[in-house]
């Protein structure tokens, strides 16, 4: 994958007339929760506030975490989930899931939160007209970790995913544990075999199998499918996806059972084959009522490497046996499984498959549907946040200038766009258009201009005749 060593950061493209303008919140690597305007001005950095992810709330408040568990003992365990006001005061906190006593560490209660949470009032954690998250009351659904033993899956210690619902006062009133439903996920024998031997074993805490790795969790909210009588899509039901298994599932809030699912395999029906193999996905959620595409499921299909199954040359042991070196954002009808909108390297203007990895984030990432039909996409591994129209035009681009010192990446786990009105502390910012630079002619100081000093005609030279068929490698479906 070609990636230049020098490139601009901050906002690089901005068309105010075509954007859904607002503030964007994301975790600036090893800095804190950063809120930027459309031109990339950092209007507030909640210094040191971790974000897995950060989410903005009405009134200029933000969700985050005060700390993370020592990685020697826990993987991605946030110590807590906190709600912080504009000035950095903690106005709500939950940490009382598990009392942790790691060697050499101060014993403490921890939420062990990771990847997601949802506050009542809003099903998905981003702006939806008429569905503001509550800020002074309301329950919160939180995705957390717990360590378990489950010989059905493996004899090794497992890092399991659990979803809890906590009240404003911090009482846990609902709990769901992923491994309890292992039998219902449809793993074939090949998958069960590698899961038993290597359930995505990670070194933290002496070793634990992060077998499912749920990385998103949200409510369906009111939707047309349930209005039509389909109980699978009850508004209280919860959708999640598992990065390691390529599963996206909806569970009944009432029974905990899986009521809708795609994956782990995508070759069992014509519908799934047309959908294509989803690999290592993130941020699968139902587009909420009131937004274009409502009722459809929006997924950042990372590609990369994920899944359990029959070994192949890229996965000699059967672990992470599905591979693809580009990403795609897909919006699917959950009943027909048809793709109704997508943003892939092709829509991004890259030649498929030869240049496809220019749109590629093999981990993290997200997609948010905006009220004007645009989609905010976090191509997370490279710290790139873009806004594209329904017609796939790139109308905003921001490259995070924040590289971590410990993790030398400018990665952005997940960014969210919020309306200006959610930050009453600030006047509406000035919106200055940024035309897309023509990189063919743009030069850094000292570089020579594009045009050659001398052009020489060659007698007998014929016109170039090029199409993909002349390249050294063919497309897989050529």
């Amino acid at each position: 994958m070609t990636y230049p060593s020098v490139y601009p950061t901050g906002t690089t493209v901005y068309d105010p007339a075509k954007c859904w303008n607002g503030y964007t919140i994301f975790q600036a690597a090893e800095e804190g929760a950063l809120l930027v305007d459309m031109n990339g001005t950092g209007v507030n950095l909640w210094k040191g506030l971790h974000g897995f992810p950060n989410k903005l709330l009405p009134g200029g408040q933000v969700f985050g975490h005060l700390g993370v568990r020592n990685p020697a003992y826990g993987m991605q365990d946030q110590t807590d989930l906190v709600q912080v006001d504009w000035d950095g005061n903690v106005v709500w906190k939950f940490d009382k899931l598990e009392y942790i006593e790691d060697p050499g560490e101060t014993p403490q209660w921890m939420a062990r939160q990771h990847h997601d949470f949802q506050r009542a009032g809003n099903p998905v954690g981003y702006y939806v007209p008429g569905m503001d998250p509550q800020t002074g009351e309301g329950n919160t659904l939180i995705l957390c970790h717990k360590n378990i033993k489950n010989p059905k899956i493996s004899d090794k210690t497992l890092l399991d995913d659990t979803i809890i619902e906590v009240t404003w006062d911090g009482d846990i009133v609902w709990e769901w544990t992923c491994s309890d439903h292992f039998d219902s996920y449809g793993f074939d024998e090949a998958a069960k075999n590698i899961l038993a031997r290597d359930p995505n074993y990670r070194p933290a805490g002496g070793g634990q199998g992060d077998w499912m790795h749920i990385n998103t969790m949200s409510l369906l909210g009111p939707n047309k499918w349930h209005d039509a009588g389909d109980e699978r899509f009850h508004p209280d039901n919860i959708i999640w996806d598992g990065r390691e298994t390529n599963i996206c599932a909806i569970i009944s809030k009432q029974t905990g059972k899986v009521v809708w699912q795609i994956g782990p395999n995508y070759d069992t029906t014509d519908q799934l084959r047309k959908l294509g193999w989803i690999v290592g996905m993130h941020h699968a959620h139902m587009i909420p009522r009131g937004l274009p595409g409502e009722g459809n499921i929006l997924i950042f299909d990372n590609g990369g490497w994920a899944g359990y199954g029959i070994p192949n040359p890229g996965a000699p042991k059967g672990s992470k046996n599905a591979l693809r070196d580009y990403s795609r954002v897909i919006e699917i009808d959950p009943v027909t499984l048809k793709i109704v909108w997508q943003y892939t390297p092709a829509e991004a203007g890259y030649m498929m498959p030869y240049d496809a990895n220019r749109f590629y984030s093999p981990f993290i990432s997200s997609a948010q549907r905006l009220p004007n039909g645009n989609t905010l996409i976090t191509e997370g591994s490279g710290g790139r946040i873009i806004e594209v129209t329904a017609g796939h035009e790139l109308v905003w681009e921001y490259i995070s200038p924040y590289w971590g010192k410990q993790l030398k990446l400018n990665m952005v786990y997940r960014a969210y766009r919020a309306p200006y009105e959610w930050v009453p502390q600030l006047p509406r910012p000035k919106e200055t258009p940024i035309a897309k630079i023509d990189v063919a002619t743009f030069r850094v100081p000292g570089a020579a201009p594009l045009a050659p000093v001398k052009q020489t005609a060659v007698a007998g030279a014929r016109p170039y005749l090029l199409d993909p068929g002349v390249l050294c490698v063919g497309a897989a479906d050529e």
């Binding site: 009382k96 009392y99 006593e101 209660w109 009482d171 846990i172 009133v173 609902w174 709990e175 309890d180």
Partner: protein, 280 residues
């Protein structure tokens, strides 16, 4: 003349038969997996009300003299040690297998029979069994004696509830000093478990209501106070109405697992390792 119904390869059956021989008692063996199959089926059909059948089938051995029937290693040895009823309450049919033996309730028997009780435990240990001993706080001195002599391998304490409801939940008075002493003994033991069944009980106004979260919190606090720490393994177990002896309690609506979450929160205030038993 005793009759023992056994199963091929049943170590527990061999222990009982060895004890019968040791005591010079005559017996006939019927191996239900061999020639004794039909005899066992006849015996079972005639006595099924007295024979416990668990999820994995009938627990062996079954020992009978034609009138009395004792099932399982502990109850059979107790009978041979002290007669059919003297140790009643101390030993029941268990559910653990291989070298582990449960069904030993140290609070359930007559402390005046401590010598016989300990003799049975010694015999079990001499036969390489690992013993899980249950208690609800009664007979603390007997538990101390068993522990002192190395006769226990795992202790399980059923903390019935908060101190003010303890006797009512236990169905008999339990000396508060015994409860505290037992908690301290169990807490100091290497392999242990505290547990509370979140059960219904008749309240002062006559209504039947489950232990409230606050009351379970008080039970957890009782453990913390007597144990001297808040890190004990503490399990909350859902009540199974169908197993209740009291007709009124049998009619109680079972609590959903999620209904125990507030109890867990309350208990974790005092015992941070509190969990809810998984069922189903």
């Amino acid at each position: 003349m005793y009759t023992i119904y056994s199963a091929t390869g049943c170590t527990r059956c061999k222990i009982v038969m060895a004890r019968l021989r040791q005591l010079g008692l005559d017996f006939a063996e019927h191996d239900m997996k061999a020639a004794g199959k039909e005899a066992f089926q006849r015996f079972y059909a005639a006595n099924r009300r007295a024979i416990f059948r668990g999820p994995e089938g009938v627990e062996f051995p079954l020992l009978t003299d034609g009138q009395t029937i004792r099932q399982g290693l502990g109850p059979a040895l107790a009978w041979l040690q002290a007669g059919p009823d003297a140790l009643a309450g101390f030993f029941q049919v268990g559910v653990l297998h291989k070298e582990w033996l449960d069904g030993i309730d140290i609070s359930g028997g007559d402390p005046a029979r401590a010598d016989d009780f300990l003799a049975v435990l010694r015999h079990l240990k001499q036969n390489a069994m690992k013993l899980e001993i249950a208690t609800d706080g009664g007979n603390a001195a007997l538990l101390a004696a068993a522990v002192r002599e190395g006769l226990a391998d795992r202790l399980v304490m059923n903390v019935r509830g908060p101190a003010h409801l303890y006797g009512q939940l236990a169905g008999r008075p339990v000396d508060p000093a015994d409860i505290r002493a037992t908690i301290a003994l169990v807490a100091a033991f290497p392999a242990k478990q505290f547990q509370t069944v979140v059960a219904p009980l008749r309240r002062a106004d006559g209504a039947v209501a489950y232990l409230a979260p606050g009351e379970v919190g008080q039970a957890a606090a009782l453990i913390a106070e007597a144990a001297g720490d808040n890190h004990q393994p503490y399990l909350l177990r859902p009540f199974r109405p169908e197993a209740a002896a009291d007709e009124t309690l049998r009619r109680a609506e079972p609590l959903a697992a999620a209904a125990l979450l507030p109890h867990r929160s309350a208990a974790r205030t005092h015992q941070v390792k509190t969990e809810i038993e998984k069922t189903g």
